[in-house]
């Protein structure tokens, strides 16, 4: 369908700091063997599409053998591939093909628990004396650790479940069919390191660590974020650094930024952590029509250690979690985005991006613009590049895990199996169904959202400072406008925007030199335009990008104090349109409804490039 390009692999160990991730559900992406379930061969067949889209790294949701009572997060064999998805050989083929196209691949590592059908648990529950007896957390009563909250309060009443065979309770922070591993047992800790080695040896580029805060339990604590957990992550990281340089750990730790930042350690734990609290506040800001939900959380986001990065996202395979919100804020978002009670899941909202926004493309572009320009590496969820819909009538979080919509053909082009065979029904409604929303149609339409997303990824790649540059929030008297400058030293590569976005483009590989002191650095380098790097290493140059966003549905004026950038010319990124040079006076801009503008703040524009 689409010709591949030969984009080279970014060789830097810090590749993840300016990468765009793409979260994909193997089961739901493409069915190559017509059995109704997506598989690894299917994903491999769609690498052309992903390469064309311009993502840098795939994140595979769980693919190990599992009874599939929790979307594969109930693993029953850590060393194999679920037969529905293919074989280990097909997985290796996928990894090789992806790497060949410059796409890295990370895997979900379900580190905290297993399925109750995992042989380890089957053996452990069989007696008090078997070799695996202490591989899980057992107790004679269910009263221990009362401070530990129940995560899935709508399903589970306790973190303990009675096992009639062993006549003891076992500990589980999630579903009762997902017993927690006992990391106090050195054999367990070692066994999981073996799991890590196994997948890295096959070629994976890292892991997203599932439910990482819960590995240990201690009396009198909530059982989250314990020092022992951090110590184990450091051990894991040390193994990566010594044996698998350039591989990454991405922590799923839903918490307040200051708490989550602990998972970076001193740069010796995880490379990336999800910034969970930012996500619901993006949705809140566009409904409240002012920037404060976003700026509040940014102002409470601590600095990163060197070599680390936040992972940001709009939607993922779970519900839009509202855990890190006040009761008032949660009620507000439920009222705004989950008007039907069936839209609620656990402590969140089980909807995809497009339906959350009532299909408003301008809003979708605004939110995408935000996560592509705010600090962090954006993680896109499969199908959201099409503005795919959801099915709130499906159970649990399957509402957002329906098949990828490739074409208007049978089953949306996802599978040639009988409809009844499909793992979940594809969407067929008139608004979001595959007849209306699919890859084939959007590929043919240059004005489609898919093409817009691809274009934005291209532009983001041309502005490496968006990866690790410092951020300066600009004061705006208009509360509906969020404006900030991303700035810092970047590798001195050609940053000219691509001439056309039609055919697949060959993107330059870029390396970004973080500003001194990390992304939130306060040690300010004097802007040295066009100056080479001072250490004799790869040459760098100063880059600054001004991003302005309108949270309101109405056009808004904004007057920005850009005096510190006086003498530079804002060049609008999407069209390379030069704007008037910045002077000491306030700089006036106007934004359309939910509008956004990115400007490259260039020195000497016109000297090298003709003004348009």
């Amino acid at each position: 369908m689409l010709p591949p390009d030969d984009r080279s692999f970014d060789p830097s160990d810090l590749w993840f700091q300016h990468a765009v991730f793409y979260e994909v559900l193997v089961r739901g992406f493409y069915d190559a063997n017509d059995d109704g379930t997506g598989d690894l061969a299917g994903l491999r067949a769609k690498l052309d599409y992903l390469q064309w889209l311009g993502i840098d790294c795939l994140w595979l949701l769980p693919f190990c053998p599992s009874p599939m009572r929790d979307g594969g997060y109930d693993v029953s064999d850590f060393f194999n591939v679920h037969p529905d998805y293919g074989t280990l050989g097909e997985l290796v083929g996928l990894l090789e093909d992806a790497h060949r196209r410059g796409i890295r691949v990370i895997a979900d590592l379900v580190i905290n628990h297993t399925s109750d059908q995992h042989p380890w648990f089957v053996e452990s529950r069989s007696s008090h004396t078997n070799p695996k007896a202490d591989w899980y957390v057992w107790n004679d009563d269910d009263q221990r650790w009362p401070e530990a909250r129940v995560v899935f309060t709508d399903v589970e009443r306790s973190n303990w479940t009675w096992d009639a065979g062993r006549e003891q309770y076992y500990w589980h922070r999630f579903y009762s069919h997902q017993p927690d591993l006992n990391y106090d047992n050195p054999e367990v800790a070692d066994a999981m390191l073996d799991v890590v080695r196994f997948w890295l040896d096959l070629g994976f580029d890292g892991f997203r660590l599932d439910a990482v805060p819960y590995l240990f339990q201690r009396d009198g604590t909530s059982g989250e974020h314990l020092p022992e957990t951090h110590a184990y992550i450091r051990r894991l990281r040390k193994q990566l650094d010594s044996e698998y340089a350039g591989r990454v750990l991405l922590a799923e730790a839903n918490g307040w930024p200051a708490d989550v930042a602990d998972y970076f350690g001193d740069g010796d734990e995880c490379h990336l952590c999800f910034h969970f609290p930012l996500m619901p506040r993006l949705f809140m800001a566009v409904r409240r029509e002012h920037r404060y939900p976003i700026t509040e959380i940014l102002s409470q986001t601590p600095e990163l250690p060197d070599g680390c990065q936040w992972a940001t996202f709009l939607r993922n395979h779970d519900e839009l979690t509202l855990e890190q919100l006040s009761d008032e804020e949660r009620d507000y978002l439920f009222a705004e985005y989950a008007k039907d009670p069936r839209m609620k899941r656990h402590m969140g909202i089980g909807r995809r991006l497009a339906p959350l926004l009532d299909g408003d493309r301008r809003l979708a572009e605004l939110l995408y613009s935000l996560i592509l320009s705010l600090p962090g590496s954006p993680v896109l969820y499969y199908g959201d590049e099409l503005l795919m819909g959801d099915n709130i009538y499906l159970g649990d979080r399957d509402s957002v895990r329906t098949p990828m919509q490739w074409s208007p053909d049978r089953n949306g082009g996802f599978s040639k199996a009988d409809f009844a065979q499909l793992y979940l029904p594809p969407l067929m409604d008139p608004v979001y169904g595959f007849g209306a929303v699919n890859v084939e149609a959007q590929l043919r339409n240059p004005g489609s959202f898919l093409h817009w997303v691809r274009g934005m990824l291209v532009h983001r790649r041309s502005l490496p400072v968006l990866g690790v540059g410092s951020i300066e929030l600009l004061d705006c008297p208009n509360p509906s406008v969020l404006a900030f400058v991303r700035w810092g030293e970047v590798a001195d590569v050609s940053l000219a925007a691509p001439a056309a976005l039609g055919p697949p483009a060959v993107m330059p590989t870029v390396a970004v030199v973080p500003a001194s002191g990390g992304r939130m650095a306060r040690t300010v380098p004097a802007p040295p335009p066009d100056a080479p790097g001072g250490d004799g290493a790869s040459p760098t140059r100063f880059q600054a990008v001004l991003c302005v966003h309108n949270m309101s549905r109405f056009a808004q004026p904004v007057q920005l104090d850009l005096a510190a950038w006086a003498g530079r010319r804002p060049v609008e990124v999407l069209g390379r349109v030069p704007f008037p040079v910045i002077g000491p006076e306030p700089y006036d801009l106007a934004l359309g409804p939910h509008g956004y503008l990115w400007f490259d703040l260039v020195d000497g524009f016109g000297a090298e490039e003709p003004a348009q």
């Binding site: 409240r288 986001t301 008032e328 929030l473 004061d475 509360p479 300010v524 109405f554 510190a564």
Partner: protein, 479 residues
């Protein structure tokens, strides 16, 4: 805190006193400065007129400087008597602080001493800020308004706040660091000129001085000492010879005035066409936060200045004498005022803000702050602190909610379902008033400052809303 600098004699190059030429040079510069202030005051008055909230006046823009007159008498044309001079920074650029009797008032100007030909980084409008020339031990100096000269303004900051200002840590988690140091003119009003310095501090300089303590800085200091943290933190209060000259505060980043935030909410409401509680831009959570902040402000004012018994009957009389705003003749208003006249009880009164409304507040990344204490708990034109029920400020904010809603409805324009818009505005005001009052009254400790009797409380609110509305009238044509 007082300024740090040399004495007049040091500046005068060892002469011990200002010689006649120096005195004339400064007088002439002050005359030019006065012309510049007249322009500021005129433009401020014009802007206030346009907002329907002030009075006109002021002097026309002056002509160019006449430096040919060596003693400056012709250019002055004013009775200027230098009262006090302090050299805040010697050399070039130097900074000279001058207090002078002028027009029967105490004028206060900060002058920069510049070498002829110096390149200035001008703050604010790109007009020539030069005011005159003077000779001192370092030779000829061009006198420049120091608040228009970025280098001099920075020296002034250091003189007022001390050299340790550079060591004041940035707030944790700040995302507003900047790759360059900047000085910006934030506000130039008849009461104060305020500069933002490096996006970290503001320095406010009073052009006209009170004979004693400036009520606004007194309230600012009192609130700060009482632990009220919804404020841009004071860094230094600039005083000399018993007079307040200005202040340095931390700059609150990301601030939007409360008026603009409320208008954004109203715009969303009118576009949604649903009840305010169902609109995405619902303001109620902000009104709740404002209520809590207001109560904390009053508790801090009580701690700082104490309380005394207040007389509701006197307040009712005052409201009765106020220019009658629309609605004041309503039976309900008259009943409330009559009720207060007859209540025969006293309620706690404290040193209130004095002119509290949305425009005195700002939404920031860390919640709401009080941005302007300058009314200082005094009536306009009065130098003495006024003690009132804290409900005077509460009513001020309630009146401000009403005024904002009405103004937004008016600006929506005629002919666009105005009845519906007015109804929505009214519902918005009611909802946010309820939220504001609920949060205010629920704040621990506030019960000691407001009457427990709900009827009395309601009557007091009505009374003070009459006064607040007389001060800031409602726009016409909005129901």
């Amino acid at each position: 805190m007082t300024g740090r600098g040399g004495s007049v004699s040091e500046w005068a190059g060892g002469l011990g006193v200002l010689d006649d030429r120096q005195r004339a040079g400064i007088r002439r510069a002050l005359a030019r400065w006065r012309q510049h202030r007249a322009v500021v005051e005129s433009e401020f008055a014009r802007a206030s007129d346009q907002a329907g909230d002030g009075e006109g006046g002021g002097r026309p823009r002056g002509e160019g400087p006449d430096w040919a007159d060596p003693l400056g008498d012709r250019a002055i044309g004013l009775d200027v008597e230098i009262v006090d001079v302090e050299l805040l920074h010697a050399g070039r650029p130097g900074v000279l602080d001058v207090v002078a009797e002028m027009d029967g008032r105490l004028a206060h100007a900060v002058l920069a001493l510049r070498r002829p030909g110096d390149e200035l980084h001008v703050v604010g409008p790109a007009e020539d800020p030069a005011l005159g020339v003077v000779e001192d031990g370092d030779g000829t100096a061009v006198l420049v308004d120091a608040l228009r000269d970025a280098d001099a303004a920075r020296l002034l900051l250091h003189a007022v706040a001390g050299p340790g200002i550079d060591r004041v840590p940035e707030p944790a988690g700040s995302t507003r660091q900047h790759p360059g140091n900047v000085i910006t003119l934030l506000c130039d009003s008849p009461d104060a000129t305020t500069l933002g310095i490096d996006r970290r501090f503001t320095i406010s300089v009073f052009p006209w001085l009170h004979r004693g303590r400036h009520p606004g800085t007194a309230v600012l200091a009192g609130l700060d000492e009482a632990g009220f943290n919804h404020l841009p933190a004071p860094v230094a209060l600039w005083r000399r010879a018993g007079r307040d000259l200005g202040s340095v505060q931390e700059l609150v980043s990301g601030a939007t005035d409360g008026w603009s935030v409320a208008l954004a909410s109203l715009r969303d409401l009118f576009a949604s066409g649903v009840e305010p509680d169902a609109a995405g831009g619902d303001f109620a959570s902000e009104a709740l936060a404002l209520g809590t902040m207001t109560a904390r402000m009053h508790l801090a004012l009580d701690r700082a200045f104490g309380s005394r018994p207040g007389d509701p009957a006197a307040w009712a009389e005052e409201a009765g004498r106020a220019a009658t705003p629309p609605g004041a003749s309503d039976g309900a208003v008259q009943a409330a005022l009559d009720g207060l006249r007859a209540c025969g009880t006293r309620t706690p009164s404290i040193r209130v803000h004095g002119d509290f409304h949305l425009g005195r507040t700002a939404r920031t990344d860390h919640g709401w702050v009080l941005t302007d204490t300058m009314p200082g708990g005094t009536e306009p034109g009065s130098g003495e602190p006024v003690f009132r029920s804290p409900l005077a400020d509460v009513a001020g904010l309630c009146a401000s909610l009403r005024r904002t809603a009405r103004l937004a409805a008016v600006e929506r324009g005629p002919g666009r379902a105005s009845a519906e818009v007015v109804q929505l505005a009214s519902a918005w005001e009611a909802r946010n008033r309820r939220a504001f009052l609920a949060a205010y009254l629920a704040t621990p400790g506030i019960g000691g400052l407001v009457p427990a009797n709900r009827e009395l409380l309601s009557d007091l609110l009505t009374c003070f809303e009459v006064l607040a509305t007389a001060r800031h009238p409602l726009p016409a044509g909005a129901g």
